[in-house]
């Protein structure tokens, strides 16, 4: 290769994205969360980010924060009206369970294995399941 060819080859842009790029509010908040079979689980009421320490100066070169979990449950009224629920009351779906993000967020697991679906399971088991015909397909 001579000098001319080297000059004509474009330099790789160090800031070019190396994966799918999305914006948290635009693409994640208020989207439907579906499980592995396409059954709705919840909506993304909020998102938890790991690695941000309030008030602490960020050293250059320190690792970037990551998305830790989808929050739902008590977080919704907090988001609408303000305020904070204590951490142990949060209902979270760990981000590592997410398989893909498109117009919806799809999980790689079934809904029944999640903490977040306990209300649905309770209503299903204790109320709807007890009414005759509740467990059958419609005809």
């Amino acid at each position: 290769m001579n000098d001319e060819t080297v000059q004509r080859m474009p330099q790789p842009d160090p800031r070019a994205p190396r994966g799918r790029v999305l914006d948290a509010h635009l693409h994640l908040l208020d989207r439907q969360v579906l499980d592995r079979d396409g059954t709705p689980v919840t909506t993304v009421d909020d998102v938890e980010l790991d690695g941000i320490e309030l008030g602490a100066r960020i050293e250059p070169g320190s690792p970037a924060p990551t998305v830790a979990a989808i929050l739902t449950g008590p977080q919704l009224p907090m988001r609408i009206f303000g305020g904070h629920a204590p951490a142990r009351r949060r209902v979270a779906i760990p981000w590592k369970l997410v398989a893909s993000v498109g117009t919806t967020v799809r999980l790689g697991v079934g809904a029944d294995s999640l903490d977040a679906s306990w209300v649905e399971r309770w209503v299903s088991g204790h109320i709807i399941g007890r009414i005759p015909g509740g467990r059958h397909d419609p005809e």
Partner: protein, 115 residues
């Protein structure tokens, strides 16, 4: 930290001057590989000098229709820019402070695949 606490924070330069509000957080699915999806990392914050509320993305994507709404939205959120996370010095309650000499980048999103 919870996302909705970060959204709406004041965006400040190193000398304390307010340049806008944080209206969104840019993410990239390009971190350490994991079982299902690679880790999703924060790569920057989007700052809007003139608005504090949510946008519909007209100023970040190539969408132009419906014409009246797109024009109105672009005007409402004009001047939006992206600041890379390496230019963020401090995050505190209600404010985000940038390093001196931070760069204002183009907020456009790369076209995303339709899934």
């Amino acid at each position: 930290m919870i996302l909705s606490d970060l959204l709406g924070s004041d965006a400040l330069e190193a000398d304390g001057r307010r340049v806008g509000a944080v209206v969104d957080v840019r993410l990239e699915i390009s971190g350490a590989p994991a079982q299902l999806l690679a880790a999703t990392v924060v790569t920057g914050v989007l700052v809007s000098p003139r608005s504090r509320f949510s946008t519909w993305g007209y100023e970040r994507r190539g969408e132009t229709a419906p014409v009246l709404i797109a024009r109105l939205q672009r005007w409402l959120h004009r001047g939006m820019f992206l600041v890379g996370w390496d230019d963020v010095e401090l995050v505190d309650e209600g404010r985000v402070v940038f390093r001196g000499g931070y760069e204002r980048r183009d907020p456009m999103l790369p076209p995303s695949p339709r899934t």
